[in-house]
Symmetry: C2
Subunit: 124 residues, 2 copies
DNA sequence: GTTTCATTTGAATATTTTTTCAAATGAAGG
DNA sequence: CCTTCATTTGAAAAAATATTCAAATGAAAC
């Protein structure tokens, strides 16, 4: 019964630790903070299993074409291409055309900004 | 027909840019580098839309209980709890019990190590 | 002990993301 | 131009992840 009153008031539990005003304020911050949304996109792009491997390989090789990546990763060219598109969307890689082949490389400044972990031997 | 030969040899395209030896070497690096796997897990934990919001809120409030988080995020308590479990798994948050309530807070060192973006006003 | 209530858990469902497959594009060489 | 072939694209299938719902746990108050 108390439970029902509480739910009617819109709270998930009897005694919220913070004030309703604070709740509203934080909700608003969440909506307004578009940088958070962008960060979530980049983190997501970085965290895809295939994508992180691609970044690692480009870190090691400096330039690789799509089919080389597919060979190394033992994935279809199409799957790699789809993932490269995501990486491109967030400016994490660059593309350069040489005849029929397209070479991809890291967009170092961007990657380093969001993945400054080289010192900890992750991308080494 | 050439295509077929190439595929028989196990390559995705006619002229791999790098040598087969290099391909094998890179494949091996990928397998051996378990730090990469761990990083992928943490990035994934950070990038979940609910989870990143939770981290943001804990950054702003320093301590919040599960139902406060659910209230602010307008999600079920259960959904929040499930996501907190992921954050706990990677040591991104800490839990403290006070009577019936469990308060969560950021594990600052870990979060900062992987999300050193405060300076760029993301978590501010 | 029994009840209360915040939280957790597990399994089922819903949703999102990846991967595959077939077809399209587009630059280069003939 | 016509062919070749690396790459991209779009839609369908497969896989992973998130969310819900109902039930369980567990600490504290009674």
């Amino acid at each position: 019964m108390l439970q029902r009153t509480v739910q009617h008031l819109g709270f998930k539990c009897l005694g919220p630790t913070i004030t309703p005003e604070r709740i509203l304020r934080l909700r608003q911050e969440l909506v307004e903070n578009e940088e958070l949304q962008r960060l979530r996109g980049i983190l997501h792009a970085l965290s895809g299993p295939l994508r992180l491997k691609i970044l690692y390989l480009l870190h090691r090789e400096s330039e690789l074409c799509v089919c080389d990546l597919a060979d190394i990763l033992d994935e279809s060219v199409s799957a790699v291409s789809h993932q490269l598109r995501v990486l491109r969307k967030y400016n994490l890689v660059r593309a350069r055309r040489d005849a029929k082949t397209i070479f991809y490389s890291l967009n170092e400044p961007v990657v380093q900004r969001y993945l400054r972990l080289e010192k900890e031997a992750v991308l080494v």
